[in-house]
Every structure is written in structure tokens, then in C-alpha cells.
Symmetry: C2
Subunit: 280 residues, 2 copies
């Protein structure tokens, strides 16, 4: 199979039941750790933090002393216009390092989208670790590159495409970084972790437009809407074509899969975290 389906494991979902619509708020704990290769080294002891959704991690005004490692959950980098309009510039996913630089400019903030488990690391310590570990440095560069990639897509897409095309691309990609349930016929039921407002602000449109397009796609049998947060993807190829990410889908989903695998490797090889006391 060319595109291996990957279960993120973030959300426990047995057989799909529409009643399970609160899944957006649940998550399982994972041991924490930075991607430092063999030894799991954390910057701090007892630095683990669980955050509910929609809480500020990095403020838009006060410079932060900390760097964050995302164990589970999704974060958003955002900025507001004077009229209160918000633009989400990128999403951060499990395994990513946030706040090292640049993501805390005046007016730019980072918040949790879903409930999240984070590791807080002192900036000074992180810089030391960075200077001592080639592995970590390489990982950081890879992450910056991935983020630049995503931002290129978003910028192009917001500038040159319409809302429908953007949403299709987003849905296609979502099937690679959101939890889902494979079905017998090869299709999948996708659990959308982002509320409508976040999707709208990421894709630079409105909740009303998102809603209308979703139902239009459902009408066209590209997706099936099980409930507000669960979509069955009937025609992934069509989503990719409509979203005009033909040449980019493979690379982007590969990048996502690799990050996921690196994270899994950490948690599988070291079920407990020997360095920090954030165990389990």
C-alpha cells in the first residue's frame, strides 16, 4: 500500500459510533522526551504540563523563557488583526518543538487547540542541549523545513485558491494527522479535532462557508458527514484533485508519517522516561 494509514493513537476510538462526538476533548498520555536519539534527555525534571483546550502557551506580548515539546495534542500559531479577525498561521503537532525562536513575535501567540500534554524546557538549557547534540540540531532543522513547507502551501492556497479548494486540501491532509477509523471498504472515518472556527481561521474563511462547503461535498459524495466532527472520506483522490495538492500530498504525508514514527519509537523503546519524572 502506497500511503500507509497511520493511527495517531491520540484518541481511543473502538468501533465508530456517532455518539462518540466528545472525542475531541480526550487524549491519552505518552511518556515525554526530546528526539535526541538513543538516550532520552529532557531539559528539566517535573516539567510535564497538561493543558486543556484553548489555553495560551506562548503569549503575544511577554517574551517567553521556555521552549515546549508537544507530547500529545495540537497547538495553533495565530495572529489577530485590529478588527479582531484572526489568522491561524500554522498548526503544531505531537513531536514538534515550539517556541525556540520566531514563534513569539509581537502579536503572535501560541495556544492549544485540543487538550495537550506538553514538556516545558528552559530556553537556556535547551540551547545547551542544542549545542551538544547533532541529532537534536538536525531534528530542529528538519522541523523548520516542514513548517516552511506547510506555510508555503497555506500562503499559496489562501492567495490563489478558493475556500472550497483549500478545504478539500485540508481534509485530504487531515486524514494523515488526525485520528481515524479504517472501515471495511477501505474508506476511513476521520475525527476532526478542530472546531469550525479554527478551520475557518486557518483557511481564511468563515464558519458559515466551511459548513456550506462540507455539505456541498457531502452532496457530491466526496465525503459523508456522520456528525459534526466525523467525516467518512469516500473519495480521497477527488479531495486531492480538488485541493490541487497532487504533487505535494505524498511528500507532506510522508513528513507527517516520519514524525509520527519517530515519536512512536521514543515511546515504544522507552515506555518509562528515565530522566524526567513525568513517567507513564
Amino acid at each position: 500500500m502506497e500511503h500507509q494509514l497511520i493511527d495517531m493513537g491520540q484518541v481511543a476510538e473502538p468501533d465508530f459510533t456517532p455518539a462518540d462526538s466528545t472525542s475531541r476533548m480526550k487524549h491519552a498520555g505518552l511518556p515525554c522526551g526530546l528526539p535526541l536519539g538513543k538516550p532520552l534527555v529532557c531539559g528539566d525534571a517535573r516539567h510535564r504540563e497538561d493543558r486543556p483546550s484553548d489555553t495560551e502557551v506562548i503569549s503575544g506580548s511577554s517574551p517567553s523563557h521556555d521552549v515546549w515539546f508537544i507530547r500529545t495534542g495540537i497547538l495553533r500559531l495565530q495572529r489577530y488583526a485590529h478588527d479582531g479577525r484572526r489568522q491561524i498561521l500554522t498548526l503544531f503537532l505531537p513531536g514538534e518543538i515550539v517556541g525556540f525562536e520566531a514563534e513569539f513575535r509581537e502579536g503572535i501567540s501560541v495556544e492549544t487547540v485540543t487538550q495537550s500534554a506538553l514538556c516545558r524546557i528552559d530556553r537556556r538549557k535547551f540551547e545547551t542541549m542544542l549545542s551538544q547534540s547533532d541529532t537534536l540540531r538536525a531534528e530542529l532543522i528538519r522541523q523548520k523545513q516542514d513548517q516552511l513547507d506547510r506555510l508555503h502551501w497555506l500562503t499559496w492556497s489562501v492567495g490563489a485558491l478558493g475556500p472550497e479548494e483549500r478545504l478539500c486540501a485540508f481534509l485530504a491532509l487531515s486524514s494523515k494527522f488526525m485520528p481515524f477509523q479504517p472501515l471495511h471498504d477501505g474508506t476511513v472515518v476521520l475525527s476532526m479535532l478542530l472546531p469550525r472556527k479554527d478551520i475557518a481561521d486557518l483557511l481564511a474563511t468563515t464558519v458559515e462557508t466551511i459548513s456550506r462547503i462540507l455539505h456541498r461535498l457531502s452532496e457530491a459524495s466526496v465525503i459523508e458527514i456522520k456528525d459534526a466532527t466525523h467525516f467518512r472520506v469516500l473519495d480521497l483522490k477527488e479531495l486531492i484533485a480538488l485541493g490541487q495538492i497532487d504533487g505535494h500530498f505524498d511528500r507532506m504525508s510522508r513528513a507527517l508519517a516520519e514524525r509520527r514514527n519517530r515519536l512512536d519509537a521514543l515511546t515504544v523503546l522507552r515506555p518509562d522516561c528515565p530522566v524526567c519524572f513525568c513517567g507513564r
Copy 2:
């Protein structure tokens, strides 16, 4: 003076005369060189290339063997939608290194906007240089950071602001990276090097809208239109306010100034290039 005015020296402009409207196509030669600190090391001998405007530097389809160093001129990173609509994702300026990675994805290409003087460097050699020079590595990271910064602005701006606000921000920034002529009263006459279509495709709008907004701003006495490529900035503060880049203008123009200074230092300290044979 808080914001030092910097003459780019790219365009020879004595006293301003509206007749000088072909200045867009002219540029002066500079010695080439990579920002490697003391010794100027180039990857290749005789690798200097002069390009007219609107020529492809990095193709969207065939992977490139080369990395480019911009001595003079402006380049654009762009991508087309299926309907032919183009989005310019970023501009590259003198002193920047282009094509090392990521800027040559499927469908993404780099072209000259103005006539440009480039240094072509073999990718293999560049990687060697990179592994041997901390200075170069640091410079490359700084550049990536600047590009990420600009892209954050563009994405936010296209997503959350209207065309008028985007154009104001662009004009304000332009006064920091385009040639200009200071006037007796402290205002400046800006030489716009980009044709309307490029401005429009960068700001995700149309030439008609750009034109209308320019004349609206002129009507409001924020700028004065000398001719199609020369604007006198009457009220920079207002441009910054309208463009909502209050908190970012200083940092972004500082970054531009620093790059410019580093490039100047290279050319001033080493008026001839001792390593490569591209001399002056």
C-alpha cells in the same frame, strides 16, 4: 533618526526626474562573494551570471544542481494554480542564498523580477562549504528565519487583511528595500522595481485593485504618484498604521538593513574578488 534611510545603490538615480522611468531595468555590477566572514570563498570560478528580468532561475519541474547567491536584483518564488492564477510566495533580495533546499518543490519556481547578477554554485560544493564554515551556517539559518518571518506576515496579511491594508504594509516595507531618493523635506521618492502584476500576485489581488488603491492613497495624501514607478511617501507613519505592521516594521527593516550592510561590507572591504574570477 530612528529609521536610518539606506540607499541600496542598485539603481543610479541622481536628482529625481520623472523621465527616469526606465530605471527599473538598470543595475550596477558588484563583486560576488559568499558571506563567509574574512576570506571570500566562492564555490566556483567564472560562475557569475547576469540575467534579464523575468527569466527562470530554478525550474518548477527539473531538480536543480545549483545554489544561487544574489549579488544584485530581485527574485520571486512563485507557484501557479490550475486556472493559471499565480501566487508569489516571497521575494529574494541581494545577499540571499537561494535554492539550497525547499525552494524547488514540484510546481514551485524561482524567476528574476528585475535584471539580476547571480553567482551559480554547485550544490555539492556548497554543502562542503556549509559543513566547514560556522559563519556560513549561521548566515543560512538567519536567512531562513527572515524568510519565515516574511512568510508569516504575508500569510497573515492575505488571510486577515484587505488589499488596501496589504498594499500599505508593502509600500512601507518597500521604502526599506527598494532604491529611493531622499528629498529636502525628509520625505522620500520610492522607485518601485516591481511591475503591477508582480505586486498584485504577491499581495493576492489584481492589477486593477492595486491601481485603484494607489490613487485612493494619493487622494488621501498618504503618497504622491510621480509616475507609475515613482511614489513619494508623504506619511510613512500612516502607511505603517494602515498596514498594521506597527510592531513588526522596526524588526523587519532592521533585518533588511543588516543584510544590506553585510553585503556592503563584502564589497567595500574586498573591491576585487581574489578567489573567483568574476571580478568587478
